[in-house]
């Protein structure tokens, strides 16, 4: 068994109202970024899981999403091994 660091992203389904995304979009535009076209806000959930393999870890996390982490009525999800994103950091 090893410890895997997974990342789950939960995102409002396309077409569904995203009040938070809308508000942030408005705020960014009035702060001087008219080039922002659209904003959607979801969740990033980081899981530290003991599993026998990468595949096993991802399967487990997927099951957790189906059961709890995402609401199929309003949200889509993705699961992956966590890695540093390419790009800038704080």
């Amino acid at each position: 068994m090893s410890r895997y660091h997974l990342e789950v992203r939960v995102k409002p389904r396309p077409g569904l109202l995203d009040p938070q995304g809308k508000a942030i979009h408005g705020a960014l535009r009035s702060l001087g970024w008219p080039e922002v076209d659209d904003v959607r806000v979801g969740k990033a959930i980081y899981l530290y899981v003991d599993a026998s393999s990468e595949k096993d870890a991802i399967e487990k996390a997927t099951a957790m999403c189906r059961k709890l982490l995402a609401n199929p009525v309003t949200e889509d999800f993705e699961v992956a091994l966590a890695g540093r994103l390419q790009g800038a950091r704080a």
């Binding site: 709890l68 982490l69 009525v73 309003t74």
Partner: protein, 236 residues
């Protein structure tokens, strides 16, 4: 009426619901979410407002997977009356006893005030003591009461007349200005297909006595008591 008031960790409206049942002559009992085989003895199941599990992740999500919810589902499937208020409504949606979901209020702020809601149906077990079209003053207090569902579900709800309460203005009109949270079609409360499970964001249990600002919620509880009595009489 023997009513089970379910308490989840983080429920805080359970006490008010308990008092409301007592005020209309019912017999409430707190049922802890881990209690097993607890619901058999009751005629109605009430899910209170509050912040079950802090409403962390999504309002009602963790509570919908609590041990007691399997029994609530069975109770509802068997036709028993189930009332979910505020967090209880959110939990019923998460448990798929009611369709749709309650998402963040459009203004992104918690909304606490007395709102007006119109009674759309009086033929449910929860509304017989109201008049159709009656406008009630009832408090809301929620951050996630914005009712959303996919288009098909929404059309079905309206088509089947399953919207029980709608936010309206003083004149009884469902305007945008009267909508406190952005809910689709000003929806404040709905029932399931069978009509025995109701979910609503406003708090009728907080509108039981004029000293706290309104007694307009009382009829919801008297309706429930009345319909249980008449269905008992019917089956006898």
């Amino acid at each position: 009426m023997k009513a089970a008031v379910i308490s989840f960790p983080g429920s805080n409206g359970d006490y008010d619901l308990y008092k409301a049942v007592q005020l209309v002559g019912g017999t409430p009992t707190f049922v802890w979410h881990r209690d097993k085989g607890a619901l058999k003895a009751y005629e109605a199941v009430l899910l209170p407002g509050g912040f079950s599990y802090g409403d962390y992740l999504r309002a009602g999500a963790i509570a919908s997977l609590s041990p007691i919810m399997e029994e609530v589902v069975a109770f509802a499937k068997a036709g028993g009356p189930v009332v979910g208020i505020c967090n209880g409504f959110q939990t019923l949606c998460e448990a798929h006893l009611l369709p749709g979901a309650l998402i963040r209020n459009e203004a992104l702020r918690f909304a606490s005030k007395h709102v007006r809601v119109r009674v759309e149906r009086t033929d449910t077990a929860f509304t017989t003591d109201y008049a159709k079209g009656q406008v009630l003053s009832i408090p809301i207090a929620h951050g996630e009461g914005n009712y959303e569902a996919d288009k098909g579900t929404l059309e079905r709800l309206e088509g089947e007349g399953r919207v029980v309460f709608r936010y309206v203005d003083a004149a009884g009109v469902a305007t945008d200005a009267a909508n406190p949270n952005g809910s689709w079609h000003n929806i404040a409360g709905i029932v399931n297909e069978a009509g025995n499970v109701i979910g609503m964001m406003p708090h009728p249990e907080r509108a039981m006595e004029t000293i706290v600002g309104s007694a307009d919620g009382r009829a919801l509880f008297t309706s429930l008591v009345g319909s249980l009595t008449s269905s008992l009489a019917g089956s006898a």
